[in-house]
């Protein structure tokens, strides 16, 4: 078997830091786009953050959104051309802090699109500040004594939060720290895109990722921290899947 770059990725080399999970996730999305044969009708929305340059890496049409507004932008794209497959690619600051309203209401409306949510418990591009997903006690540039819930509140579990909304068809948390988990992550991304193709509604795949640069850890220790500390707080698995629960009841909307 020959190892090849997915067609849905351009030839531009990634700018991401060594060890960063973005490269793996980009590849998984591109593989899914290739396998479903949808590159020609896919439009992606890049966030503000490290992944803003995703618009250079995916071969499909791409739009760069203002910070946090990706799902409103994606709503406009999808409503204009419902035959397009639309996905957003967002970090935890983008999606769960500044973009909370856009996220919750896109989900509540059941916007038929796919959200790829990168949870690394930190703001990456700006240099490692506290995010809504930062754990209790976690030291960041803006929680130098560790996140204290008395003053800085509690971490947000986005999939669990969104799963209460009727418009959500799939909310699943995955990780890309092991081969097995990478395979699970790809399955979840593929399912999310397939649900969108079937018109099932809003789909979100939350992906636990490492940020060795801003965590200040080696790659090895980053993976250890992800498994030992991050994952117990954000358990991987399906949080909501309307397709699995009542497959026969879900109407296909064209």
């Amino acid at each position: 078997m020959k190892f090849e770059k997915p067609k849905a990725l351009t030839d531009m080399p990634f700018h991401y830091c060594p060890g960063c999970s973005h490269g793996i996730v980009h590849r998984l999305i591109a593989e899914v786009i290739d396998e479903l044969g949808i590159e020609g009708r896919t439009v992606g929305v890049a966030p503000v953050g490290c992944a803003v340059f995703a618009y250079n890496y995916f071969s499909c049409d791409m739009v760069q959104s203002p910070h946090g507004r990706a799902q409103a932008v994606a709503t406009g794209i999808k409503r204009a051309n419902p035959e397009n497959m639309v996905f957003t690619y967002q970090g935890d600051g983008d999606l769960a802090a500044i973009g909370t309203a856009e996220t919750i209401h896109a989900a509540a409306r059941g916007e038929n699109m796919t959200v790829i949510f990168i949870n690394n418990a930190i703001y990456g591009m700006t240099g490692g500040q506290m995010a809504p997903t930062t754990l209790i006690g976690q030291v960041t540039q803006t929680s130098p004594y560790g996140r204290d819930p008395k003053t800085a509140g509690y971490p947000m579990k986005v999939c669990e939060l969104l799963s209460t909304l009727d418009g959500v068809a799939l909310a699943q948390r995955v990780s890309v720290d092991t081969v097995k988990n990478v395979k699970e992550a790809k399955k979840a991304i593929k399912k999310a895109f397939e649900y969108q193709m079937e018109g099932k509604g809003y789909t979100i795949v939350e992906i636990l990722c490492v940020c060795p640069t801003n965590w200040g850890l080696s790659m090895k220790d980053s993976l250890k921290w992800l498994r030992g500390t991050l994952m117990p707080n954000y358990p991987v698995g399906v949080v909501k899947d309307t397709g699995a629960k009542c497959k026969s009841k879900v109407k296909e909307v064209k």
Partner: protein
Amino acid sequence: MPEKVLMKGNEAAAEAAILAGCRHFFGYPITPQTEIAAHMSNRMPKIGGIYLQAESEIGAINMVLGASAAGVRTMTSSSSPGISLKAESLSYLAGSDLPAVLVNIQRAGPGLGGIQPSQADYWQATRSSGHGDYKMLVFAPSTVQEMVDLVVDAFYLSDKYRMPAMILSDGLLGQMMEPVVFDESKVKKAPEKPWATCGHGDKREHNIITSLFIDPYDLDAVVKARYERYEHIKENEQRYEEYCTKDADIIVVSYGASARIVRSAVDAARKEGIKAGMIRPISVWPFPDKPILSKINDVKAFLCVEMSMGQMVDDVRLAVNGKKDVKFFGHTGGVVPTPSEVLEEIKKINRGA
């Protein structure tokens, strides 16, 4: 000949957008523009269009950004406080060279201000709706019919120049009923949009819509190229009406709803033998400096009348460039100037006061 119908300014703006081919409207309620959203929510489902009530003005303008990137004619509307919220994405629209039409039915500010008509968002519309170096096309209707005509033209010019266009109106026009005609023959089709992100269909390279240029020299070049386009627009798209200016000693400059009052004041002044006239900017960006420059040697003074503390008066003064006196009269807070107040100001100038 299309028939005349009696309509509120707000409803007419919405119907004009539909006439122009807009089928994607993203709204959010705010007084005094809510009839636009209400009209769209009624009409769009009947004509295969989309009315979507966003979670906020921010949500609405970003949906507009997405729909515009996808290549369709799209619109949102709001009133002053809501426009402030849209500021971020107006900057992104301009920075991404995306067309879109935005209606501002101005109310009094600052803050929550009041819900009565105002023209205090002139600076915001023409100077600094958002961050960075950019401009929007801004049109200010004075009648409900002109609202219709300008909305239709705004879609065309916004597409032509790939930049956002704003209808800068106010609660007076928005709530006023007048007979209007919707003339399909005035609608110009949207140009081809080969840049749109609507799926490349395996037929072309991928399109990217972005406002990010990380290399400062790239950004410098992109913005400068955009400003060349703005210079072309300044030269070619100035719109204005001149009223009784031919022999005028005193020219009142006024736009939108306040120009209606000024027109009455000019008529009253003429009856008293005072040679007054009016220049009414219809485009406020580009600001029509041409008629002012052509009259500058013939008049005693200019008077600017606005429903604000004096904002457009800056543009009049820039055009006049110190060569003549430029006076200002206005009310703010939702108070509309009366014709007799304006007449009194004209008389004062006539007396040399």
